[in-house]
Amino acid sequence: MELKVHKAGEVYIIDVEGEMDLYNAYKLKELSISLLEKKASRFIINLQDVDYMDSSGIGALIFICSTMKKQNLKLALTNIHGSVKKVIELTKLTSYFPISASMDDALKLVQE
């Protein structure tokens, strides 16, 4: 799994590429924590290039989402598709996560 961070204004966009699984999902948590330490407050996690996610990956998203909610920060997950979408549906977390259908929608959500 590779993580790339870029900014759009005040928004930190994390592009995730590869498989988010038990061996590497912690990297996304660590990256998010490091961005929070830099006082970042608006995040988008772009899952366009993620074709596989297991419970550890879902767990990383839960950790990030709950941390952001507690701190009243802005987060959007976007471009979720395929089996990743199915796993989120199976865990019934579709309404818990702030999911946007597109990057444009995600930018609008975190800039509200």
Partner: protein, 172 residues
């Protein structure tokens, strides 16, 4: 409200019938969990939809057996029976651990989670998105069994020793 599904204990369930299933045995090797799952899934009919979702679900069960059942003890094995036909998949996984002693606690937790979803109480849901115990660590999402109970739509139960779990998925 969605019908609440508990995970039951029924070693006499037909889900535990190994007749016609293929047997495989794996060491408790955490680094190869996904490889073991792939070895099983490669026997599934190629026309199965969402093979990587099937692989993911099988990987979760092997992970539970290796990590939570056998505590990564290399002297302990994970035994798997599996079978596929044109529209279903069956799996039985056994470990050599002490059994899933917290099953009742998990069922209670899951019921509360489903109540939150039914009430659309997403603030309270935050307390029930991840089932964690003193054995959980950072790589445990605490959500695998929620998905498993939905995915394995033909049944999902443990045996009375709680070291064996059997399940079926139908694709119709």
């Amino acid at each position: 409200m969605d019908s609440v599904k508990d995970i039951g204990l029924d070693g006499s369930s037909t889900l535990f019938d190994t007749k016609g299933l293929t047997f495989a045995e794996f060491p408790s090797d955490y680094q190869n969990i996904r490889y073991f799952a792939l070895l099983i899934v490669q026997n599934a009919p190629p026309e199965f939809k969402e093979l990587n979702l099937l692989e993911q679900q099988i990987s979760e069960l092997i992970k539970n057996a290796v990590k939570h059942g056998n505590k990564n003890d290399p002297s302990k094995k994970v035994r798997v029976w599996y079978g596929f036909d044109q529209d279903s998949a069956r799996l039985i996984v056994r470990d050599e651990g002490e059994g899933f002693r917290r099953l009742e606690e998990w069922n209670s937790f899951n019921r509360k989670r489903l109540e939150c979803l039914h009430e659309q109480n997403y603030e309270k849901l935050g307390d029930f998105v991840s089932f964690r115990t003193d054995c959980s660590d950072d790589t445990d999402g605490g959500n695998a069994l929620f998905a498993a109970l939905e995915y394995w739509n033909g049944g999902f139960c443990f045996d009375e020793a709680r070291t064996g779990v059997a399940m079926k998925r139908t694709f119709r």
